[in-house]
């Protein structure tokens, strides 16, 4: 009977391959979410009634429905219906991106609302158009403020990416189960997966810390970075 340790050591390269898949899903989904979230936040704050109503509906659905369900609906339902030939990887990335986009929109909206109104007024007062004011004055400030909340979102999506296997993209968690089912070393394998996730989270959070310090401006004491 192989020992727990030898099983873990044997499985490590296989799991680490999976973490590459996990990492690329997370990075792609977070970036997609960033784009969606930014546009949505601007729409939610500055848009007209119809835009705000539609975006709120989007927020409600994507925050209210579990990601597994969304994944099923999009991968087997909507993408299929429109004949979109997305691979499992693309599909997961899009669904996770759209989900985190909703959460990020909420984060950014909060940040925009927390900016003093004067910032927008001052920009308008100088003759900037609304879109110039948003691009040059509002977004650079709120993206900075949002980094800590964004890092929370990152660690959540990192773990949500395990759902990729539901549609056949075997990332860390799925691989962990495969090895455990074959070797019956469940506990050791799950702990190993936990450690890998822990380091992935840690690496991401540290990178964001660095970014946060890099773009820091005197006079802000952003939460969570004393």
């Amino acid at each position: 009977m192989p020992t727990a340790l030898s099983v873990v050591i044997d499985a490590l390269p296989y799991l680490l391959q999976g973490s590459l898949l996990t990492a690329s899903i997370v990075v792609a989904a977070m970036l997609l979410g960033l784009v969606i979230g930014t546009f949505m936040a601007v729409g939610l704050v500055y848009g007209n009634k119809v835009v705000r109503y539609l975006l709120t509906l989007y927020l409600w659905i994507f925050r209210g429905v579990p990601v597994v369900v969304l994944l099923f609906l999009f991968y087997f339902g909507i993408f299929n219906f429109f004949g979109l030939p997305f691979s499992a990887f693309t599909a997961v990335t899009i669904v996770l991106g759209m989900t985190t986009g909703a959460y990020q929109a909420n984060i950014f909206r909060g940040a925009i609302l927390s900016l003093p109104q004067g910032q927008f007024k001052a920009a308008s007062g100088l003759g900037m158009t609304d879109s110039q004011a948003i691009r040059c004055i509002i977004l650079p400030q709120i993206l900075r403020i949002s980094i800590p909340a964004w890092s929370n979102e990152f660690s959540i999506i990192l773990k949500d990416s395990a759902l990729a296997f539901v549609i056949g993209a075997p990332e860390i968690m799925a691989r962990t189960q495969f090895v455990a089912s074959r070797t019956y070393q469940h506990l050791a394998m799950y702990i190993t997966a936990g450690v890998i996730y822990f380091f992935l989270t840690w690496a991401g959070v540290m990178a964001l810390r660095k970014l946060e310090q890099h773009v820091r401006i005197p006079g802000y004491s952003y939460n969570g970075s004393r």
Binding site: G118, K121, A123, L126, G127, M128, C136, P218
Partner: protein, 254 residues
Amino acid sequence: MNDKHSILKCTNISKSYDDQLILSNVSVELTKGEIKVLIGPSGGGKSTLLQCINCLVIPDSGKIVIEDHPIHLTRKPDLYRLRQQVGMIFQDFNLFDHLTALENITIALCKVKKLDKPAARKRAQIELEQVGLADKATLYPAQLSGGQKQRVAIARALAMDPKILLLDEPTSALDPTLIGEVISVIKGLADKGMTMIMATHQISLINNIADEILFMEKGRIVEQGAPSVLLGKGNESRSQGFCDKLNDLAAVEG
């Protein structure tokens, strides 16, 4: 140039928020080089009026004509053009917190006036020198004192070559020890003939530079006249109580 010809003419400006009338049929006219001061109790509508003049708040009705060009209140490009010609200074400065003093000035020059970077920097440097802050160009707003922030805000507005300057209580967020520097910059502008309309209760500004005082209460201009008249001893009008208080405060300060 005909100095008596009005540079800005606002007629019958009205504005309400949630059924509450904040401004009712207010008219203001400015000729080149003229300086008007708005005074009156808190909530009287001074800030709202100033923001209506450059359409940061769009009036519900009324007409705005700048240098004989009427402004369409519903046409965005018209508003952008208006705001380029009317500079504004806020009570709490509203510098862009993520940009240095210099960048605060260049960003509008680049984006709005479409200057190229070097030209914008040159112009910004000149304006900073004018307000005595050439050496603070690379500091962020959080690293400046209140008086310095307000002076950057003034430099930023002036860099756009405005025809008119609106000032909304430019000194009231400042420590008593910092007010002096801002007052002297404003006085300098007055000396150079800048057309201005400002809300302030700073007696020294009112006494020394105002051509006319407008007393606002409950959304109307209830009284207007030269400082000597309104603040004079014999004034028996509606604004009397308020003006007495202003005079008292000045006396206490002395």
